[in-house]
């Protein structure tokens, strides 16, 4: 029995951090089993899932019985434990610190600001049947613009990836958040060539894994377009 398949991840690819984890697993070819959890159908609230994660969130990793939540913790654990290329989460202290810095900043900037746009444009209207709250959306877009400005001026200043010369887990986490508004047909990088070039570099580095992870999001976007 292959001990490695004892690595299980519980994912919904509509979730940004789930996609980042999915891409990392694909790129590093770590043997694992995926258990799909459909948030849209409330599968994260079932007794079975709640027993695995009382916080009822995805992603969750179970590695030989060891249960872990929070995508950055899961990603760092996998990189530390298994033999993956160093660039993902470098061992050299200053380079590692740069990744730790971004993953912390991510929680209070990229993640909430991009997610809010998707929430207001797609999730809330779908759940409530009400139209998009235009005022709130304007505010959310403005906040996201500020965050994108900061990504360009603070993290991508004179370097091809967020934390240096090579792709790291930070780039995966960031790109998946930035992709989320595409579920509502919105490309937030439309007028931003610097970030577009960064995104292309990330896509080139991860190959097919990018579109595979985002297939569900694209399908959502296409279904919504078809309705218009």
């Amino acid at each position: 029995m292959a001990a490695r398949q004892a690595l299980q991840v519980h994912l919904d690819l509509l979730s940004q951090p789930c996609r980042a984890l999915h891409i990392l697993l694909a790129c590093t070819r770590l043997p694992h089993t995926v258990r799909h959890v459909a948030l849209r159908r409330g599968e994260h609230r079932t007794p079975e899932f709640t027993e695995i994660n009382p916080m009822q969130k995805v992603p969750v990793m179970v590695d030989n019985g060891f249960i872990l939540t929070e995508s950055d913790a899961i990603i760092k654990y996998l990189v530390n434990k298994y033999d993956v290329p160093d660039h993902w989460y470098p061992r050299q202290p200053e380079r590692r610190a740069r990744v730790d810095e971004y993953t912390a900043w991510h929680h209070t900037h990229t993640r909430p600001h991009a997610a809010k746009v998707f929430l207001l444009e797609v999730l809330l209207p779908a759940q409530t049947g009400s139209p998009v709250e235009a005022q709130r959306l304007v505010g959310a877009l403005s906040q996201l613009q500020e965050t994108l400005d900061q990504l360009e001026s603070m993290f991508l200043r004179r370097q091809p990836f967020l934390c240096g010369d090579d792709i790291t887990v930070a780039d995966l986490l960031a790109v998946c958040e930035i992709m989320q508004p595409e579920g509502g047909g919105r490309d937030v990088l439309q007028d931003r060539p610097l970030l577009q070039r960064w995104k292309s570099r990330v896509r080139a580095a991860v190959g097919d894994a990018f579109d595979q992870a985002h297939a569900v999001l694209y399908a959502l976007r296409d279904r919504r377009r078809a309705k218009l």
């Binding site: 009382p54 916080m55 060891f66 872990l68 939540t69 929070e70 995508s71 950055d72 913790a73 899961i74 760092k76 654990y77 530390n80 434990k81 202290p93 200053e94 590692r96 610190a97 740069r98 730790d100 810095e101 993953t103 912390a104 900043w105 929680h107 209070t108 993640r111 909430p112 505010g139 900061q150 001026s153 603070m154 200043r157």
Partner: protein
């Protein structure tokens, strides 16, 4: 060679960094940055870090922000006692899990209560609707429940038998709503006991010294010049209200 630490002790993550540096006898120099006076927007600080946040660390040519990153960097560089960030991958993962979760949970909710209960009404002179205050206190309560039920469970500390970076980051956040007069520990014997263990592990004298400023907040706001915050007022209200 000493590292430079850019800090404002009114800020929770600045406190965790200073406690860590002092507790571990890490050679450091503190450079005070007054957030109330907007010093994080000054030219000098901009040269230290484009990110313009405190805490910030400068170690030679290397600068760093975000307290989890700073703490991890210092732990590694100065080879601090293993319990702060153990080599055991599962314990380490528990700490990373807490450090990740807390940004949009305990840190956010504790900050919100501090601003809504004290700073916004007393310094900005804006009335806070009762429902908003109650909702914020409830959110904080939910976060504290998760701290107790998920992150501590029946362990003395978050990662196990000894204090780690997770407890340090947690305790400074818990102290923020304490400083605005909220009875955080009332009816929470588990949290109380954990707090006592954390304080003992850090050393009460060090803990009290670093928290002296923030714990004087209720008095200080009476003399505080609200006009200094005028330029940030819209942003603050947008963030918390």
């Amino acid at each position: 060679m000493a590292v430079e630490l850019y800090l404002d002790l009114l800020s929770q993550p600045c406190r965790s960094v200073l406690i860590f540096a002092k507790k571990n006898n890490i050679p450091h120099e503190v450079r005070n940055i007054s957030l109330m006076d907007g010093e994080q927007y000054g030219d000098h600080f901009g040269k230290i870090s484009l990110i313009r946040k405190v805490p910030a660390l400068r170690d030679g040519d290397f600068t760093l922000t975000e307290s989890p990153a700073i703490l991890l960097y210092l732990a590694q560089k100065f080879q601090t006692p293993e319990h702060w960030y153990p080599a055991d991958l599962q314990q380490r993962a528990r700490i990373d899990e807490y450090l990740s979760w807390q940004h949009c949970a305990l840190r956010l909710h504790g900050s919100k209560v501090f601003w809504l209960k004290l700073m916004i009404p007393e310094v900005l002179h804006v009335e806070v609707p009762k429902e908003k205050m109650e909702a914020a206190v409830e959110q904080l309560s939910d976060s504290l429940n998760l701290l107790e039920e998920k992150f501590l469970q029946d362990r003395p500390f978050i990662a196990g038998g000894r204090i780690s970076l997770a407890d340090l980051v947690a305790i400074v956040e818990v102290m923020q709503p304490v400083a605005c007069g909220l009875d955080v520990f009332g009816g929470r014997p588990k949290l109380n006991a954990w707090r006592d263990r954390v304080q003992a592990a850090i050393g009460k004298e060090l803990f009290d010294e670093v928290h002296q400023n923030i714990l004087g907040s209720q008095e200080r706001v009476k003399e505080m010049d609200g006009s200094k915050l005028e330029s940030s007022k819209a942003k603050i209200l947008n963030l918390f209200m």
